[in-house]
Each structure stands twice: as structure tokens, then as C-alpha cells.
């Protein structure tokens, strides 16, 4: 990066199923005001506003323009980015690039989704490609989740019982996060007995449909040091995009078969981790990384990512679960926010990961705080099979 960049403010709204009390403008404004307050700035101090959400999930487009009053971007520079589930992380990397360019002093990054408006279900669950996707039996989100689930099971990385154990951990973490949408008190039996969506994928494995907004303010080194006493440094970040899954290295006729032979859904995450580990001297991620905040839209994803992020050997995620290594008291705590299965306001989701990573490094996680020093956090998001953005955030430069 031309300039080193720090996160100097974060703001989140509590996740909900519905927010009939606010418009979309008011929703994003809540997050913007929270981030400004956290950074002890006013909107006048902001140079650029980067915004993102899912195109048409609220039945609208040009959201960067018609939310101008909520975003505070009137008279300012800015742009909108959309990369499906990865949007929140992509706008973060876009904002960091702006700060690193040396052209801007303060960058406000805002993601949101107001899924109590619009026909999100029809968009989210339908096949993207009317021939190729249906040919493989894969609907959009559910099909992709099933692919990861069947792959984890076929690789013998975890049993359904161990997945239930992880799901209870996620639910308990969600209960400790005031911004979490779901507040579930569930047992492993509840998970194992919840309705089958597509076996082995069950209802309780899947993320909810949430309303939330998240805002993050970043600044280049000199400005960050001037503006805040608690900067969280963006040590490195990496964007990697591949083709839509069925066309990514496997013949389309094998859409269904492709998953058991190796999930490409996680391909980008794995590649991003390999690249970032190499650039940052990470040879033993489980030892060197203090915390991971992931984009796991189902419990199966979380377990799949244990292996993609090299926290264990391939096929040995079950060991991590049995040791409870990714639990708050474990040696590599994972998604203590409750994760995406507790709150998924899509355009905000990737940015919530960054906000939670920064909160953990600042030691301000309250009941969900990692119970030891957090110096280095790995965080990532991914979207629509092919987008992935990952980042290392650190306490020190």
C-alpha cells in the first residue's frame, strides 16, 4: 500500500428481522452516526463515502445516490460497489484503497441491507442461470450451502453431531453480542432435529434474513495517528474473484458431482489465505493468528473454513471441534460475534466482520471479547461462489 491505513471508527445497528420504525435512509444513518461518534468526528471531517448493498434486494438501485442524506455524502466524492455476499468486504477494501492512495484523508464505508423490504427471497433462492444451475440441481444460496455441507460430510471432516455442537457454540456467541439478530437458546438435539432443507443441510444450520447497517471509517497513517488513540491497522488485504462455481474448473455437467470431489465454494477463501499468509509470514496460522471473524452463511461453512484457513490438516476439522479450539476459551477463537448464522444483513455482513475484528483488537467486545490479548485478526467474506476479500487487521503497525 502507498500509505498505511487504519480503522479509526466503527458503527453497527442491532440486527433485526424487521425495522419498520426506520426508512433505509434512517437505517444507514444510524450506523454512520455510530461510527462518527466512535471516531469522535463529524460528517464534515469525511472526504469520501463508499457504499454497498445487494442490488434490487429492496427493489431499488442507485442506493449510493438516493441514500445520500443518510450516508452524509452530499457534496462528497464516493461510489457504490456490489459483489453479492462479499459486498461488505469489497467496500472495505475499496475504502482502504482510497485511503492508501494518498488522495483522501478520511473514508467512510457503509454497508446495509433492509430485508424487510423487497423480494429478497425470490432473488436469493432462485437459480442464477436458468439452464446450467437447474441442470445441476443447485438453487442460489441454498444450493451452494448444500454443496458445502455434503462436501464436509463426504470428506469426513465432521459428523452431523459435531456440526450441531458448532451450531450451539455459534448460538451461544450470538447471545453475548448485543448486535446479533438471532438470540437462540438451543441444544445439539434441537439442531439435529430441526427440519431438513436438503440433507444434510438443516434449517438451524442456515443464516437468518436480517436488517442491519454497518459503517467503518478508515484513514491513512498520519491522519489516523492525529485523529485517534486507538487505531486498528489494516496490515494487508486481498481480493480474489473466480468464475461462477459450476464453470470454475469443473465441467458444468458435474455441477452436483463437483462438490463431493472438492468444494470450489471456498476456493477464493483458500487462495486469499494462502496469499496473505505468504505475504505476512504466517506459517502456523493456528498459533500466529489470535482471532478469526468469518463469513460463514451456514455452520457447515465455518467447519469447511477451518480447513481452508489451514487451522488443521485436511479432513481433520472434527479434531478442532472436539477440542473446542474455536470456542471462546480455545486457542483459535472463531466468530465470537455469533457470525453470519446469527445476523446476515447481506450488504453489511462483510463489513460487520471488519467491525467485529476491530472491536476485538481494541478489547471492547464486552461479553463476546476473546479472553486474552488480540493482536492479529484474520477476517474475510465471500459472495456468490466467486467473490472473496480477506484482510489481516492488527493492533500494531
Amino acid at each position: 500500500m502507498a500509505e498505511r491505513v487504519a480503522v479509526i471508527g466503527v458503527g453497527q445497528t442491532p440486527g433485526k428481522r424487521s425495522r419498520k420504525d426506520v426508512s433505509e435512509i434512517e437505517l444507514v444513518n444510524e450506523a454512520v452516526r455510530a461510527a462518527l461518534e466512535d471516531a469522535e468526528l463529524t460528517i464534515k471531517d469525511i472526504d469520501v463515502v463508499i457504499e454497498g448493498n445487494m442490488e434490487f434486494f429492496e427493489g431499488t438501485l442507485y442506493t449510493d445516490q438516493w441514500l445520500v442524506e443518510g450516508l452524509g455524502s452530499y457534496g462528497k466524492s464516493g461510489l457504490k460497489v456490489n459483489s453479492a455476499g462479499d459486498t461488505g468486504a469489497t467496500i472495505f477494501s475499496t475504502g482502504v484503497s482510497h485511503a492508501a492512495s494518498g488522495l483522501f484523508k478520511t473514508v467512510l464505508i457503509v454497508g446495509f441491507e433492509k430485508q424487510d423490504e423487497g423480494a429478497y427471497g425470490g432473488i436469493g433462492m432462485r437459480s442464477e442461470d436458468s439452464f446450467f444451475d437447474i441442470a445441476g440441481g443447485s438453487g442460489r444460496a441454498i444450493g451452494a450451502m448444500w454443496g458445502t455441507a455434503i462436501s464436509v460430510l463426504n470428506r469426513k471432516s465432521a459428523t452431523e453431531e459435531l456440526i450441531a455442537k458448532v451450531r450451539v457454540k455459534e448460538a451461544e456467541c450470538g447471545l453475548r453480542n448485543p448486535y446479533s439478530h438471532l438470540k437462540l437458546k438451543i441444544t445439539e438435539n434441537d439442531v439435529l432435529n430441526s427440519n431438513t432443507v436438503i440433507w444434510p443441510l438443516r434449517f438451524l444450520h442456515i443464516c437468518p434474513t436480517s436488517v442491519s447497517s454497518c459503517a467503518v471509517i478508515v484513514a491513512p497513517e498520519k491522519e489516523a495517528k492525529r485523529l485517534t488513540r486507538k487505531p486498528v491497522w489494516v496490515k494487508d488485504y486481498y481480493c480474489i474473484h473466480s468464475g461462477l462455481q459450476p464453470r470454475c474448473g469443473e465441467p458444468w455437467l458435474n455441477v452436483g458431482a463437483a462438490y463431493p470431489t472438492g468444494p470450489q465454494f471456498r476456493w477464493g477463501v483458500e487462495q486469499a489465505a494462502i496469499a496473505l499468509y505468504k505475504r505476512n509470514g504466517i506459517t502456523h496460522p493456528r498459533k500466529q493468528i489470535d482471532y478469526i471473524e468469518s463469513y460463514s452463511p451456514s455452520t457447515w461453512h465455518e467447519v469447511d473454513y477451518y480447513e481452508a484457513l489451514k487451522l488443521c490438516e485436511p479432513g481433520e476439522a472434527w479434531k478442532l471441534i472436539e477440542e473446542e479450539a474455536t470456542w471462546p476459551h480455545g486457542d483459535i477463537p472463531f466468530d465470537l460475534s455469533g457470525g453470519v448464522v446469527s445476523t446476515n444483513a447481506i450488504g453489511a455482513t462483510g463489513l460487520h466482520r471488519v467491525a467485529e475484528a476491530a472491536i476485538q483488537i481494541r478489547g471492547e467486545g464486552g461479553e463476546r471479547q476473546v479472553p486474552r490479548d488480540v493482536n492479529l485478526v484474520f477476517t474475510f467474506a465471500q459472495g456468490a461462489d466467486q467473490f472473496c476479500t480477506a484482510a489481516f487487521l492488527s493492533k500494531n503497525l
Binding site: 442507485y62 445520500v68 464516493g78
Partner: protein, 148 residues
């Protein structure tokens, strides 16, 4: 380069003004050290989905004063034979594949600066302006200055 957002709702502003274009242009001129755009820019590729926008954007870009776009155009300055030809490509009115319309303005400016524009070449073009906007009434604008 420079860009800027205006308010979205049309009732919140005077539609005969384009404050966000004025600001975006100022940011671009400042970065490119352009003091007198009319003299220093050799051609402009601007985005206009309606003919009247060319007059309004001409004012916003500072080629003439506010409310003077029509009179300025009558002087012939923006014709191919004038000192600041506007849209030698034919502009968006000649073709509008929306997602690439702004980038196409930049491509045309580069083509002109390379002297590769054939029959539509502006002779001796050294500095070019490319402009794009979004929102039916220009709610956000983006201005690029290119030079060789």
C-alpha cells in the same frame, strides 16, 4: 479526476443548477492544475442523455457562466471547427450502453489524444476532458482530465 454527489430527490434542488458537477469539475481542475478550462482543454467528451444537458453541463464545467450555455453554444466554440469541440464521438445521444457510457467518453478522449480518431480527429488535441454522470437529473458527476 473528481466526483461528487448531489441530493437525490428532485424537489430538493434547482434543476437548472448542477452544483455537484461544479464541485466535481473543480476537484478535477485542481488536481490537474487547470486554471482556465476554456483555454486549456482542447476537447470534451461529456455525457448527455438529453440535448439540453449539454448546455447545462457546459455551464457546470465552467466553460461559460451560469445561464449562458445557449449563447455560448451559438458562438460555435463547441463545434468541430471551434476551439473546444464537444463530443466528436457523437456522444451518448449516438449510442448509450449505460454501464459503459462513461468509460466510452474516456476511451474517446484517449483515442483523440493519441491522434487515432480518423475522420473525427480534433487536430492537435493535447488535453481532453471526459465526463460521466448518474441519476436521471445528474445526481452524481465524474470528471476526468487526460493529457499527453
Amino acid at each position: 479526476m473528481g466526483n461528487c454527489y448531489d441530493v437525490h430527490y428532485l424537489g430538493d434542488r434547482d434543476l437548472a443548477d448542477c452544483d455537484s458537477l461544479v464541485t466535481a469539475a473543480k476537484r478535477a481542475y485542481s488536481m490537474a492544475k487547470i486554471n482556465d478550462p476554456l483555454k486549456e482543454i482542447d476537447l470534451a467528451e461529456i455525457s448527455e442523455e438529453y440535448s439540453y444537458q449539454e448546455l447545462l453541463w457546459t455551464e457546470g464545467l465552467g466553460f461559460c457562466g451560469r445561464g449562458e450555455g445557449g449563447k455560448w453554444m451559438e458562438k460555435g466554440i463547441s463545434q468541430m471547427s471551434g476551439s473546444l469541440p464537444i463530443n466528436p464521438s457523437g456522444g451518448i445521444l449516438a449510442g448509450n450502453p449505460i454501464g459503459v457510457a462513461g468509460a466510452a467518453r474516456v476511451v474517446e478522449a484517449v483515442t483523440q489524444l493519441r491522434g487515432e480518431a480518423g475522420a473525427r480527429q480534433v487536430k492537435g488535441a493535447k488535453t481532453a476532458l471526459a465526463h460521466g454522470y448518474t441519476g436521471a437529473c445528474g445526481q452524481s458527476h465524474c470528471v476526468f482530465i487526460l493529457s499527453h
